[in-house]
C-alpha cells in the first residue's frame, strides 16, 4: 500500500516539478502563472489594464494578418456564389425596389411629422456614427463576439450600440486603444430592452447562442396578438443605453418566442458604432 503511494508521489513529482530537456519552465510554475493571470486580469488596476490592452492590440492585429489568406478564400467563394444567382437576385431586387419607392414617400412624411413633434417638446436626438471594420470574427460556439478596428482613440465607449446598415447587431463590451470587442445579440449573455411593434409591448430580447434571439420578460397576453400580426422588434431605448427605434428582427407566428435577427452576424465586414445624446431644453 505504502509502495503504491510512493509510486504515485514519484510520478506526480516527476510530472509537475521536473523540467524536461527542452522545457524551459516546469509545469507547476506555468499552472500557477496562469492562475495568477486569471486572478490579476479581474482587478481594475491601471497597470493591469495597460498590459491587457497591449496584449489585446498585438493579438488582434496578428490574428487579422494571419487570417488574411483564409478571408481571401472566403470572399472568393462568396463572390462565385453571388455570380451564380445574379439573375434571380435581380428579379427580386426589381420588385423590392418598386415597393420601397412607394414606402419611402410615406416614411418621409412620418419623418417630417416626427421632427415637428420633437420641436414642439423641445427635444432633439443627436447621434454620431463611426464606421468600423471587423478585424476578427472568430465564430466560437460558446461566445458570440467580434473585434472591430475602432477604440478609445476614436472615442468609442463601453455600451455603445453597433449596427449593420440600419439593424442592431450588438454592443461594445471591451475597448482598447485601436480596437474594441462587440458582444453580438446572439450571445447567451446579451439582454436588450425592446419594443414589439405594432402591438407596442415592452420585452427583453435575449441571445440564445444560436442565430436567433428569444423573448424574455414580457406580458403573456401578447401571445394571442402575435398570432394575427407580423411583429417587428425595435430597441425601446429604456435604460438609456441604445437609441430607441433601432430595428432588431422579426417574430414569426409559428414560433412566437423566437426573434429572427435582420442582420446575418456571419457576414459582418463593416459595422457602424452609434453614440447618441438626447438634448432637451425643458
Amino acid at each position: 500500500m505504502a509502495a503504491g503511494r510512493d509510486d504515485f508521489v514519484i510520478a506526480f513529482r516527476s510530472a509537475f516539478l521536473k523540467k524536461k530537456d527542452k522545457q524551459k519552465f516546469s509545469l507547476l510554475t506555468l499552472i500557477f502563472l496562469s492562475i495568477l493571470v486569471i486572478i490579476l486580469s479581474n482587478f481594475n488596476f491601471k497597470i493591469i489594464k495597460i498590459i491587457k490592452m497591449g496584449i489585446n492590440e498585438v493579438v488582434y492585429r496578428s490574428s487579422f494578418f494571419i487570417s488574411i489568406p483564409e478571408n481571401k478564400i472566403k470572399s472568393i467563394n462568396a463572390q462565385i456564389n453571388e455570380h451564380m444567382k445574379l439573375y434571380d437576385d435581380y428579379k427580386i431586387i426589381e420588385t423590392d425596389l418598386e415597393n420601397l419607392k412607394q414606402k419611402e414617400l410615406s416614411i418621409n412624411f412620418l419623418k417630417l411629422e416626427n421632427d415637428k413633434l420633437r420641436k414642439l417638446i423641445d427635444e432633439s436626438i443627436k447621434s454620431d456614427e463611426i464606421l468600423a471594420k471587423v478585424l476578427i470574427d472568430k465564430e466560437s460556439p460558446f461566445l458570440k463576439s467580434i473585434v472591430v478596428n475602432k477604440g478609445t482613440k476614436d472615442k468609442i465607449k463601453i455600451g455603445m450600440a453597433v449596427i449593420d446598415r440600419a439593424y442592431l447587431v450588438g454592443k461594445v463590451i471591451e475597448v482598447n486603444y485601436t480596437n474594441s470587442r462587440v458582444l453580438l445579440l446572439s450571445d447567451l449573455n446579451s439582454k436588450i430592452p425592446a419594443l414589439l411593434e405594432p402591438i407596442g409591448m415592452q420585452a427583453v430580447i435575449s441571445g440564445t447562442g444560436k442565430n436567433y434571439g428569444e423573448i424574455q420578460y414580457t406580458k403573456e397576453e401578447y401571445e394571442n396578438e402575435i398570432k394575427i400580426k407580423k411583429i417587428i422588434v425595435y430597441t425601446s431605448g429604456l435604460g438609456g443605453l441604445f437609441k430607441a427605434g433601432l430595428p432588431i428582427g422579426t417574430i414569426s407566428a409559428d414560433n412566437i418566442k423566437k426573434v429572427n435577427f435582420f442582420s446575418d452576424f456571419k457576414q459582418l465586414e463593416y459595422v457602424k458604432i452609434v453614440s447618441f445624446n438626447i438634448e432637451s431644453t425643458n
Binding site: K20, N56, K138, E139
Partner: protein, 172 residues
C-alpha cells in the same frame, strides 16, 4: 566535423510542425470548434496538445502552450489565462500518464483522453459559470467533448505519422 552535428534546415523546420499548427489554430479565424454545422464541433487544440505532450513533449513546449492559451483567450473573448490553465491541465495529465505508463497502447490513450477533456471542459465551465458568471451552453460543451473524443483516432494516426517522420529525420 561541425557539419556532422548540424541537421539540415528542412529536418529542423519539420520538428516545429506541432508549434506552428498550434499557433495557426489559435490565431486563425477558422476553427474546428465551429464548422457552421449545427451541433457539430470539436476541439482540435485539445487533441493536438494531448497527443504531442504525451508522445513527444520535446516538440511542444509548455511555455508555447501557455502563450497559445493566452492568445486563444484574447481572440475568443474568454477571461485571460483560462485557456492556458486548461491547456496546462491537459499537459499535467499527459505528463502523469507518461510517468506511469510502461507500454503505451492506443485504447488506453484514447480513454485517458476522454477523461482529460471531460475534466478540462468541466473545469472551464465551472470557472466561467460560477466565478465569472458568464452563461454557457452545457449541451454544446458536452457535444463538443463527444466529437473531440470521436475524432481523436483520426488525428492520432495523422500525428503519429508526422511524429515518426520527425524522429526519422532528426536521426538522419
Amino acid at each position: 566535423m561541425s557539419s556532422l552535428n548540424k541537421a539540415p534546415i528542412s529536418n529542423t523546420s519539420f520538428s516545429y510542425f506541432p508549434i506552428v499548427i498550434l499557433f495557426i489554430s489559435v490565431f486563425n479565424e477558422f476553427d474546428f470548434n465551429y464548422l457552421k454545422i449545427q451541433y457539430f464541433s470539436f476541439n482540435f487544440v485539445h487533441i493536438l496538445i494531448f497527443f504531442w505532450t504525451l508522445k513527444n513533449p520535446n516538440h511542444l513546449g509548455y511555455l508555447s502552450i501557455f502563450i497559445a492559451g493566452v492568445i486563444n483567450d484574447v481572440i475568443v473573448g474568454l477571461p485571460l489565462g483560462l485557456s492556458s490553465f486548461c491547456y496546462l491541465l491537459i499537459c499535467s495529465v499527459t505528463a502523469y500518464l507518461r510517468n506511469i505508463t510502461l507500454s503505451p497502447n492506443f485504447i488506453n490513450d484514447w480513454l485517458s483522453f476522454l477523461f482529460t477533456i471531460l475534466l478540462v471542459n468541466s473545469v472551464q465551465v465551472i470557472i466561467l459559470d460560477l466565478i465569472f458568471l458568464i452563461q454557457v451552453d452545457y449541451i454544446k460543451y458536452l457535444i463538443n467533448t463527444g466529437f473531440t473524443f470521436i475524432f481523436y483516432p483520426l488525428f492520432f494516426f495523422i500525428f503519429n505519422y508526422v511524429n515518426k517522420k520527425i524522429i526519422v529525420k532528426l536521426n538522419d
